[in-house]
Point group: D2
Chain length 355, copies 4
């Protein structure tokens, strides 16, 4: 849609229409009392809005279409594809299916012993997938960067522990890929590849990870709007990989003064995204709040909002954790969270199925 | 706490200490390898931090105390007061008690007939309190400003309808006070006085409303952090009125591109605020999302997060509403919301009581 | 403009068109391959977008017009009014004229002696208007609220000092009105009435202040977008008072971690607003940064960005100031700022006049 | 610094002190009337704050030190290093020296002919360095991604044009590196390597680029606070490369309603960062505003704020540009900008040198 200035001349309007036709589109002109608005009819993806915005007499040029048609619920119907919720299978686990799925584990893998002990707790608590960070994105170069920072051998060793722990307790495993050179290695060991919040905009990484064909847990950047989040998920889908699990993990808190939560968990994004796309949406209340004393409440809230599952940091002894101890919960607490969430999920999903 | 610059001189440090003593406080000096940090011991409310920040050699001066001691859970204990959750009684209704409370009604009161019809629906759906806006804050001077804009007589007539509808269906009533001159009039008719999001910072209005002694529903400004929100609630408490119901209603969305929700509902603020204060916290999912198709999910989520109740816009025919139609739900939908929320509340509160 | 869903039926489209006609507007229908977009032609201010957004089959309903036509540069031309920059006269001072205007003084009036001493400095430094807060908006009820908090008599005394200091040094005076009951009193003494950032949304206060007919310095709320800022200025203009000086004073900083400036001074708002409206725009670098060591740079930057003047906090001894000492500069520093700004203004305005 | 809860027990305090000592640090205990605050003395970078925050009885644990000591002005002095402004030399050009430096060119390189024509304009306008994007980060996978997207050969060809254009007009050249696999190739051709806003957090890319030893233009992420921005610049410095040119390019706009600028240019960040670090700071008004009609004003403002130079998009015919046409200016306009900026720079830098 192109909105002309109130003092745009007939020549300027004519030039815009000519340009529209030159792009192979149709122009629908609507003349109001004060200004003219011109609708563009055709495939919006091919429209150079920047070009139109720079033409003389133009006040504004903008699209009305979504930039993520490949993963869109609306366009899947238009294109005649399936319109049902996509279920992503990882081993026997179904993400986006009838039951909520729980991913749990330590923020960072620290040792084989630590990992095995935690994995046991994860299994006993009733969770389904084991997480553990090996390449840790950190805001300070002087902080512990994960065992992956110790070089290829150290990274591979940590990955093998993760894989072993997963096999021992029959839990698929997930870990984060932070840089392009890590993709091949991580894909050998992990069942799900995670793109962290700080890498959401890293389109080269997305493309490379997508090409592995494995399920991807894709976290929203803490400064990204929903439209941006879905537009970058489209980078993955454009490689032919639609095994995308979207994950809300909190956005930058606004307002003066001390923050009471590390980020603002945007739970309304869960149902809002579900109206837009058929991809499953999970929530990470650990990073979203940064506070273990809020995990129970916000886990229940996330499931009530419609999330397909949760990703939670767990440690048998949070005080001992090298990274993010204040947000980790214990195995006992995790069990309590999972039990409550299952009951809430049943309660809210029964209503939704009726509608 | 005062953090000195690394190159602060002995004289500058001595001057800061002297000033601290002059304020009747104690200075605890901690000399590190690179810089000196000075702790201030005494009543922080009397400390002129601005003054200290302006002294030579000072890098930063900041408090460690909360600016809302009167409503604080921590300081209530320190001062020997009650530490239990405050329950606010309005007629037979208890806000902050064992059951969640539901406030519902039209965004704006439009006519007596409209209001009575809606009030009946509110009652039938199982809600407890009737809302209806008479003085509407609007972002455009050219929009409908509520019947209150028609002058004193028109405002009083609308208020009398509200009162009558409340009595007829045994529902206490709440309406917003937008300006200081409306306080006396509104307080004659309403059981709860509402301070809207745009007036959160209006300390003159807060003081005047507080002095009426009636319960106040106090909405967070959409640009306010939690600390600011509680600091302004302290203006009400400072007048001796602690019948304050805090209400989260969404903050400014961040991120590029189109917003999918009108605001970002900050549900983690609910338990975070509850850790800080004994006042009840409610949530307004209608304004928070601006979308009727998200009300069910976000109502369930708010209750799961620990909210003491909800404020929801309801209309027997949302398409007809002059204001905010897209976010209003029908009486049938409200009933469904209330039923689900009651069950979720029972589920999550039982766990909390055990802890 | 109304965007229909891709699966909207012919009946739904027909109903929307019918409703548009019922509102006395024309419907321009544009059918694309996937969806229909309907343009509304007529006076947008009368269009109930909320109503249209709630109709079945509608994806989105939004306006293309600005909500601040009364102060708009574009619509002034359309309506045949003057299109030149408005110059606001206060005594001999012209705001929005050929020279930049400087408002300076203490954050808070503390005593007659303090004020006279500062006023002398303001005059000597070459500034034009004297500021001094008497009713101080504060984020904590426990902080010093200005002499206005001492009751009517104390407020009137402080106002008389301000007026006297202004007369003695031939400086028009400005002070803030925070609540509705202060309007009459302040208007007796002040030459310009200030609406502070926290009261930008307080439409009852705006209306009342506007009716005094005096020039108003209107500050942007720290959480407000430009469109909102101008929409609320429209509340003043709607009362027939167009003596509005807009003032940018910083918005909420975003991003994790400690803030290096109290707010984010949005200097691009200055030329952006000037393209929209003929009203003069000033900048307050003192509140915008909260740091006296940044005042020189940001004052120069504001004038270079096109501001018509600056509002700066000055104190003969910033360390002594009860409020906001860290952001006040000395009379000598103020002189330096004014001299540099004058030269920059000459440099940039000469170019603009050529264009 | 560790702030204990008001009800922390003696045992809990003792445990915290014990842990502090175990980390090889000293504990300075300050007991107030209500709570105890414990200062940690020692190298804060080694302190596991997360660990302390998770200990029982602890309300808050936070550092007082900056996380970017390697590039810090304060710590350079402490460590006995140079405290003068760093000047980065690229050929004969000095960035951070006595004169402002101007980088200009097209957003995206489109053809050899386009580039040579623009380079000529850049030279004639008096700018110093030629920019041109080959690997373009884009928010939609369906948009033009730059000639780099055409594969290695296409990328190398475009890079060779850039290099050739630079040599022909005696302009050093800069281009963006978006992904790790592009680093070696780009470093062969470019004199300065650019890290774009969306890659600021990509620590693997930063490390790899830093190791090339070439000057790096490092853009602030649009959601990043200043502390984060400098913390990620520290990743580059930690590799031994301090040839870092920091670049402010606008942050996410906040506030409801339509944005009048694409981003919010945070000009106060320029002097604020300059107080923290000796690295030069440049500004990109093209991306910061997204509007060519604001470039003159915001360029002048950036230089007045203290910027060491500007990066500006220029095109001989902005309407023709495939990417970001609405923000590009013409060679004539660029000349006007440079002339005005030079005069402002002289005016403001003379004052600064006196201080």
């Amino acid at each position: 849609m192109i909105i002309m200035k109130t003092d745009a001349t007939q020549e300027q309007i004519a030039q815009v229409i000519k340009e529209i036709k030159r792009c192979g589109l149709r122009a629908d002109v609507s003349k109001g009392a004060y200004r003219t608005v011109i609708g563009l009819v055709g495939d919006e993806r091919k429209i150079p809005f920047d070009h139109f915005a720079a033409l003389p007499g133009v006040k504004e040029a903008r699209g009305v279409e979504i930039p993520y048609k490949l993963i869109s619920r609306e366009y899947t119907k238009v294109y005649g594809g399936e319109s049902e919720q996509v279920v992503i299978k990882v081993g026997n686990i179904e993400i986006g299916g009838d039951e909520p799925v729980f991913i749990a584990g330590p923020c960072a893998v620290e040792s084989k012993e630590q990992l095995l002990k935690i994995a046991e707790g994860v299994k006993k608590a009733g969770a389904h997938i084991l997480r553990g960070g090996i390449f840790k994105p950190r805001s300070s170069v002087h902080s512990f960067q994960g065992l992956g920072a110790g070089g290829h051998e150290s990274a591979e060793e940590a990955l093998s522990w993760l894989s072993e722990a997963g096999q021992k307790f029959e839990l698929p495993v997930i870990t984060e890929v932070r840089g392009e050179t890590q993709v091949d290695l991580v894909a050998e060991y992990a069942d799900i590849l995670q793109i962290g919040t700080r890498n959401m905009y890293d389109q080269d990484l997305l493309t490379r990870v997508a090409n592995k064909g494995k399920p991807i847990l894709f976290k929203r950047h803490f400064g990204a709007g929903i439209e941006e989040f879905l537009s970058f998920a489209e980078y993955i889908a454009a490689e032919g990989n639609k095994n995308i699990i979207l994950c809300e993990r909190g956005i930058i808190p606004i307002g003066k003064g001390k923050s009471y939560t590390r980020y603002t968990l945007d739970l309304a994004a869960v149902p809002a995204i579900q109206k837009e796309t058929y991809l499953p949406v999970m929530v990470d209340p650990s990073h979203g709040t940064g506070r273990r004393d809020l995990i129970f409440n916000m886990s229940c809230a996330a499931i009530a909002a419609g999330a397909s599952g949760l990703m939670i940091e767990m440690h048998y002894n949070p005080v001992e954790a090298l990274v993010d101890g204040p947000q980790a919960i214990t195995p006992e607490e995790l069990k309590e969270v999972i039990d409550a969430c299952r009951r809430i999920h049943r309660l809210v999903s029964s209503r939704r199925n009726e509608n």
